[in-house]
Subunit: 241 residues, 2 copies
């Protein structure tokens, strides 16, 4: 893991860019050197780690006493895309403009995107836990529920997860949701145009976790109220500190 | 309003029993004399104000810096019941034992119970706001969603409300839910035997409040996790302090 830049932010958070092989990442940590738990923060369906809402969540969470990491996993953010991925995204745009059903197109590129992203996240997790000042347990907090489900099922070091019920969750992850058993905070925007409410409620119902909490608020995809960010940190505090 | 007993509890809360005409009530306040907001706390469908879970919620909330009041409104708790109410309760027991549908029986006594309870709560609110050390705005926090809806619609002094989606909500309150416009925290037990989940979700959907948040947790009617009590106080803090 090679750090390529470091800046001290006004909220007492240190933001460092890193590369790990082909994986570009960002690590936000509190200035204090006491060991802190790690939170993996991924953005929905492969948006870049530099997306402003993700950066704002990451900085807030780091200021609350966490090491927060985000990466552009294979096929995500600015990473090169396969011809198939480019094709699927083109098909998606065309289908949406034509008002055609898009589930199968989503399935065709988000399914593989999740599969390709997981190894990069696990590689990053290995490297981050080698760093001084980062201490288990590990949390996942992300817009990308599908990746979070896959990670929670395959990665025993993940002890708690916060998911945002936005964006398309592939069939494979809907089917393995019952195998997620870590404490869960599931955030739903009640009027999220692109995210059928009933499907999100069914997903919440399917999780195997004994402790799982649904927070639903009115409004569209990006209308999540600020206090949910605070509640999300309090959820992590309960399980990682 | 006549105080009939006072005791200092170990959590720094003062618990006072009072009577207001025929209305018996309890008031929990922090020992500090600085003015605090008032929270009206009612129990589901007329259970007594002395019910241990209500008392525990009230003491916790008072220790967080609120004056908390609960009463046995007309027909509730230990107050005398009309022959019609006794009959309805008897019918309900028989129907439940026989596994018959109970909605209409619930309707027949909870509907009137709400109507009868509201004036007692408003009379109590008037008297409480005369007391030194109690300061608006006023919150409602209660198991009794139906009463809370009626109060929120009829009582402009109520500035925020926390409802528990348990127990039967009469048709009249389901129909006026759209007229509730104060910030709302709506608590749902996902597996509440006596409380159809879809009906609770429909009620949440129907509230007119621009700010309304649903918190759902697995488990039955009395399985609400402890952290929801803390979240409930933080919700009140946002709107009453």
């Amino acid at each position: 893991m090679r750090f390529t830049s470091e800046q001290r932010l006004d909220d007492g958070v240190v933001e460092r860019e890193f590369t790990l092989g082909e994986i570009p990442g960002t690590l936000w940590t509190p200035e204090s050197t006491a060991p802190v738990p790690l939170v993996l923060m991924a953005h929905n369906n492969g948006l870049p780690k530099a997306e402003p809402r993700l950066v704002a969540r990451a900085r807030y969470t780091a200021a609350r006493g966490y090491a927060v990491a985000s990466i552009d996993a294979a096929g995500c953010g600015d990473r090169p895309r396969s011809a198939a991925e480019e094709q699927a995204r083109a098909d998606l745009g065309r289908a949406m403009r034509a008002g055609e059903p898009v589930d199968e197109i989503f399935e065709s590129f988000i399914g593989p995107l999740v599969e390709k992203a997981v190894p990069d996240w696990r590689t990053t997790l290995d490297a981050l836990l080698e760093l001084p000042g980062i201490d288990g347990p590990v949390g996942y907090s992300g817009g990308w529920a599908a990746l979070g489900i896959r990670l929670a099922v395959t990665e025993p070091r993940i002890a708690a997860a916060g998911f945002f019920a936005g964006g398309y969750v592939p069939r494979a992850q809907r089917e393995e949701a019952g195998r997620v058993t870590v404490p869960l905070l599931f955030l739903l925007q009640w009027d999220d145009e692109g995210n059928p409410r009933q499907r999100a409620l069914d997903l919440f119902d399917a999780f195997g976790s004994k402790e799982k909490t649904l927070h639903a608020n009115p409004g569209g995809h990006i209308g999540t109220p600020w206090f949910e960010l605070e509640d999300g940190c309090r959820f992590l505090d309960r399980h990682l500190k």
